[in-house]
Symmetry: none
Subunit: 210 residues, 4 copies
DNA sequence: GATGAATGAGGTTTCATTCAT
DNA sequence: TATGAATGAAACCTCATTCAT
């Protein structure tokens, strides 16, 4: 029943370390911070970090894996709602990701900046997991191509890239203060990103004529 | 007539170092490589790197600045062709970037992976220059919104993010072998990315009906 | 009862490093030695030096500050003995400094050669602390000028320089084997330096006649 | 007739470099400056320094040797004036050294700070030359001891140390702005340093009584 | 004489990781 | 569990010196 450890009221030190790592990685960057910075932020001894994690990188891996799986599960769940159109499904996916950033901006910043956008270094290891997301999105598109609602000349994989790329860029823009981020901006963005990618930037008249 | 430097046949060592750095950074990543790796690859002595560059980071900065400016210039030039529609202009921009990757994949990999997608660390310093690109693209969109060809409910800045994000994700997918990259793929991508973003993923029937 | 640290028999590694540094600095000079020389001499790992000191210079600073303060305290104490004449006080000061050299020649060599006689570089930082010594000595002289035992045409500050300069030169001469250094030499020097500075080099007949 | 080189008006580059070195060594310290700093200050190319001097250290050696010999010659000359008393001779020596500092403070700063007060490192090499000065001064004292004007219980070598130490400390105090340095201060110092060392700090009444 | 590009050894410092208690 | 002292492998950068022109 208790959280963990042998005391009922014991704080879960592993969790404390992970949460501290989120703040430190977001603030200083994974490379530029020391393990001792994380330990200090967590208020635990230096060596305890190594009691729970085999390396600094494993902390990052844990943060990523934990969170990314939530997203994959969410996408799977969204995709399973049969009554939804592809556009609606993509809208839900966009909404989930944007809400994730709203509620845990530090964690999402770490995941995006240090993992998904850093595929060259650590990200490389997570590429398979990252691809799963691409594939799930592609799956949604594929169905829409099959039922004729999405253009067939744009492959599902290609479409998934455009969609995911747009969203990640959006988050990146928020992370680095390139776009405004009021509650309203977040809410509006959910609809607009889908409108932009599914409906296109061109106004309907033009689109229809083309 | 002479190439450069004080010898008629003299090679420009600074250029040699920069080109070596492109290969090394692309192969090992900026962080994971040592300055001596660059020197070795260039076939010059260790210290010569520091004769031309004040630090390892300055090499990266130089590579980025050089190349990014070419892109900014290209976008400005494309935008100045008055007879082109916004979709055509965006198509040219996408084409320029995709061709850049085709012809210099290592350099573009370095720029994207180590700078634009790493805004947290080095990229931070280049954010203003990166933003210039966003703004130029937004400028193209803005005109189309003004003349009614682009939807007015999607702001130009937001649209620019979607467009740029889609292209960068495309390149990232190529860089990490997530999407196929034959000559044909590159050529087709030029048109498709614009079709996806401007025309939307939805087939015209759906779009018109919406 | 325990020596220090967490083990009953534990050696204080910081002290071990400081003592090793004294020997290495004295032998090779601060500039010409490497941090690894100090670590080797102390029998500890390279990095442990940086666990206790932020830089090589901080080791020197610590050695100086520790020791110099002892001297300042001693001078203050000597000056407080009201029954002593100025000459006696200066004699005690000279005695303290000479004994310091006798008992810890390496440490005093380091302090003199690398700090007080190197005011241009590191010493600069310690100038205020060095000046304190000058001022304390000047204070002793000042009292003697006030009560008429010391000449009033020689300012206390000027006199302090002559006195301190003579002693430091004496130590320097010992350090570089310019003067002999038997136990007898040390003991005699204590009286002679005061005799030379307070009483003058000239024999009393001449002094009285002048 | 011309200074040097093949042009009548040719500047002596070696001299230019030496003079530049004086300024740079005085300003930055011998250790903390680079050979290129000297070349820049002299307005000559990097490599030219090595055309005239075999190493950075040789520049310092040259500066020291040149100047120190002038002093040795001066002391010899002063000592040869048979009509002078020991006190007068020492006064002339003090005057020569103090004037040297007045007229060429940078050069004297370099010699004192980087050579005579740094005997551990470079100075070591010049110790024999430095000792010559001690010995010449000791010679003056020795004569005075022989004729009874100087106390016999203070050895000439010991006395020379006190005298030289006092003067060098005086110069050091000026160098590091510990004592005031108006024209008046310099002039007065010439007499006072001799009065202090030869006559003693104690007022005549005390001295005579002792 | 004059230039400055080229060399490369070496030192300081950092920090992830281990381990004794 | 928990601590933090101890380890030691890198890596960046400096800069005296050389040398081709």
């Amino acid at each position: 029943m208790a959280a963990s450890g042998r005391h009922g009221a014991g704080v879960d030190k592993q969790r404390v370390i992970l949460d501290a790592a989120i703040r430190v990685f977001a603030r200083q960057g994974f490379h530029s911070c020391r393990v001792s910075d994380v330990a200090d932020e967590a208020g635990v001894a230096y060596g305890l970090v190594y009691h729970y994690f085999s390396s600094k990188e494993e902390i990052l891996n844990t943060l990523f894996t934990e969170r990314w799986q939530l997203m994959l599960d969410a996408i799977v769940e969204i995709d399973s709602r049969e009554q939804l159109t592809a556009r609606d499904k993509l809208g839900q996916v966009a909404g989930f990701i944007i809400d994730s950033y709203r509620h845990e901006p530090d964690l999402m910043k770490v995941i995006i900046v240090e993992v998904t956008r850093a595929a060259n270094t650590f990200g490389r290891h997570h590429l398979p997991k990252i691809r799963e997301a691409y594939n799930l999105i592609a799956g949604i598109v594929e169905q829409a191509r099959a039922d004729g609602t999405f253009k067939s000349d744009i492959s599902a994989e290609f479409a998934a890239m455009c969609f995911y790329g747009a969203i990640e860029q959006l988050l990146t823009a928020w992370i680095f203060d390139v776009l405004p981020k009021s509650d309203d901006d977040y809410e509006r963005a959910k609809g607009l990103v889908v409108e932009a990618i599914c409906g296109g930037l061109e106004s309907d008249a033009v689109g229809a004529a083309a």
